[in-house]
């Protein structure tokens, strides 16, 4: 199995604050992987570096066999990375349909675009809201819409930043099922998540970040039993 993503020696500091301290990380194609760590561990910064929103001070990012370290965000997206942010990044004044159009029109047009939009409306159960401004949807529906925008383009790698933030337990479970479904269709998934129950539901392997470096990586059971992890993370966060 090849690696879809390989990060080597990734380093980034803002003045004296080191947010990525030589991260070596790889993700095999088809994986479903979670990234955890206490607040300030560098999870979001790592995502920003992957997405090209920050330029690293050192290190390389290899995606799908080619070096994307110096590419701009939109160029990385075009190579098959897709992202869903913690705060729903949707176009609130535009209708649900327009949101989906903007997400897919670059890849599809005419009838195939229409088919895709219908498929995604089915998928998110938003058929009745097709012409509603996205800002009027419930928080959960907005999350769903953004997930649809992110996965409808059939990315090779899907990055999720706390996908279940603000969702009800029911919606969270549904999201987990959907992610398994997407993964089964061949999409590699990397998620930052706080909710350990959700991590258990979706992740096959987990990486713990601490102070901008990889602390440990393993299966969920290994991570939970790891004494160091309990000390730095679970002991404090699992209130």
């Amino acid at each position: 199995m090849t690696d879809i993503l390989r990060v080597q020696g990734l380093r980034k500091a803002f003045g004296g604050v080191v947010v990525a301290n030589g991260i070596d990380f790889s993700l095999s194609t088809g994986a479903m992987h979670c990234l955890i760590g206490p607040n300030g561990a560098g999870k979001s910064s790592f995502f920003r570096l992957l997405l090209g929103e920050h330029a690293p001070d050192a290190g390389t990012i290899i995606f799908d066999g080619s070096d994307i370290t110096n590419l701009r965000s939109f160029q990385r997206i075009r190579r098959g990375i897709s992202v869903k942010f913690q705060v729903p990044g949707i176009f609130k004044a535009l209708s649900v349909r327009q949101n989906l159009e903007v997400a897919f029109q670059d890849h599809l047009n005419g009838q195939s675009l229409n088919t895709k939009i219908h498929e995604m409306l089915d998928f998110t159960d938003l058929h009745a809201e097709e012409t509603t401004p996205a800002g009027n949807l419930s928080h959960g529906q907005q999350q769903w819409l953004e997930i649809a925008m992110a996965v409808g383009v059939e990315p090779k790698l899907l990055l999720l930043d706390e996908p279940t933030a603000g969702m009800s337990p029911d919606e969270t479970r549904k999201t987990g099922e959907m992610l398994h479904d997407l993964n089964a269709r061949g999409i590699t998934i990397l998620a930052v998540e706080h909710d350990m129950a959700f991590v258990e539901q979706i992740a096959r392997r987990v990486t713990v970040l601490h102070f901008g470096s990889i602390f440990v990586e393993g299966t969920i059971a290994e991570i939970i039993d790891h004494p160091g992890v309990q000390e730095i993370y679970l002991g404090t966060a699992d209130v």
Binding site: F74, G89, L94, S95, D106
Partner: protein, 359 residues
């Protein structure tokens, strides 16, 4: 064989389908009948008025291009440009310089018109490139564009000396250029010079209709989709794989080209152009038309512009300073009371009343 026949036709059909869409108000037979009636009334207008009044109405139409261009840049792409007059003025001067050098024969004034629009649009492309690729955002776009137009004004005002000439054309500093030929159509026998009057009016009316419909198609196309998405959330648009800077720059260049069209037509209409057309007061006027009409809808922008211009014109008989005070007050009231625009506000209000009546 069959496919080569159907492809262009189906392409035309899909273009026409773009005349309606979520980015533009007005759809269905009722709207298009009303639009046709409005155009017919506008076309019949010269029959009811004398040539001077018609020439004056042509003057209103000239400004609508700049207003619609600003509507695209500000209302749709979300970049508030305070300096559309820079492209207006530059194209106005370009038309003057080119026609004074080439003359009006063989339809060369039309070539000058096209060149002037191209120059204005190109300048907007360059300014847009520096702004958007320099990640300039929000208020800074306003300041930079305003600075550009004000510096251009100062520059042109300082060109009084005889050394400031381009070929035959003296720039004439503060007093501006004059004496350039009007638009002239080549015709068998004798060329037709379009002085302010019915024939110029019809030409402009045709241009307005073409530009308005063309913009509707563009705004409802995938390009327009991306523009409004950028207005709502540029970061997300980038994260969907679009080069946001490119779209913003293109929208800005289109807006600039429309302002340039107004500028070149203005020079051709009055046969003069002065540096004050790029000054602070002139720069404020397009903002007023578009804000008062409603920037997020091209139809509201068009209607608002014509109504405000007509109001401004009728106030000018008391003195332009009174008219400008009213314009300033109108802008304040719009921003405070109906930020989405008075025309849009009125449309929404009427819609609500209708709904109440029905229920």
């Amino acid at each position: 064989m069959i496919s080569s026949e159907t492809t262009p036709r189906s392409r035309t059909r899909s273009l026409l389908a773009r005349l309606e869409g979520p980015q533009t108000m007005g759809r269905g037979p009722a709207f298009w009948i009303a639009a046709a009636v409005a155009i017919a009334a506008a076309a019949a207008y010269p029959l009811t008025a004398d040539a001077w009044t018609v020439g004056n109405a042509a003057y209103f139409l000239i400004w609508t291009f700049m207003a619609m261009g600003l509507g695209v840049v500000w209302g749709y792409a979300g970049a508030l440009s305070f300096g559309q007059t820079a492209f207006f003025g530059l194209a106005g001067y370009a038309y003057g310089v080119i026609t004074l050098n080439l003359g009006a024969a063989y339809g060369l004034t039309l070539v000058a018109l096209v060149l002037a629009v191209a120059i204005g649009g190109l300048f907007a492309l360059v300014i847009g490139y520096f702004m958007f690729y320099g990640r300039i955002q929000g208020v800074f776009i306003g300041i930079v564009t305003l600075s550009v137009t004000l510096v251009l004004e100062t520059f042109m005002a300082q060109t009084a000396g005889p050394q400031w000439r381009i070929g035959e054309a003296r720039l004439n500093g503060f007093n501006g250029m004059s004496g350039m030929p009007p638009l002239t159509l080549p015709w068998v026998g004798e060329d037709i010079a379009l002085y302010p009057g019915p024939s110029l009016y019809y030409l402009l009316l045709g241009l307005v209709v073409i530009c308005y419909l063309g913009l509707r198609i563009m705004l409802n196309s995938s390009f327009g989709n991306v523009l409004v998405a950028i207005r709502e959330n540029p970061h997300r648009v980038g994260m969907l794989g679009y080069d946001v800077r490119l779209y913003q720059t293109l929208a800005f260049a289109i807006g600039g080209a429309f302002a340039a069209l107004s500028g070149a037509l203005y020079t051709a209409w009055g046969q003069y152009i002065t540096p004050s057309s790029m000054g602070l007061t002139s720069a404020a006027l397009p903002i007023i038309w578009v804000a008062v009409g409603g920037r997020r809808d091209i139809t509201a922008t068009l209607i608002g512009t014509i109504v405000v211009l007509a109001g401004f014109q009728s106030l000018t008989i008391y003195g332009s300073q009174y008219a400008l005070v009213v314009m300033g007050a109108l802008l304040l009231v719009t921003v405070l009371v109906a930020p989405q625009g008075l025309v849009v506000g009125a449309m929404t209000f009427l819609g609500r009343i209708f709904k109440k009546d029905k229920s």
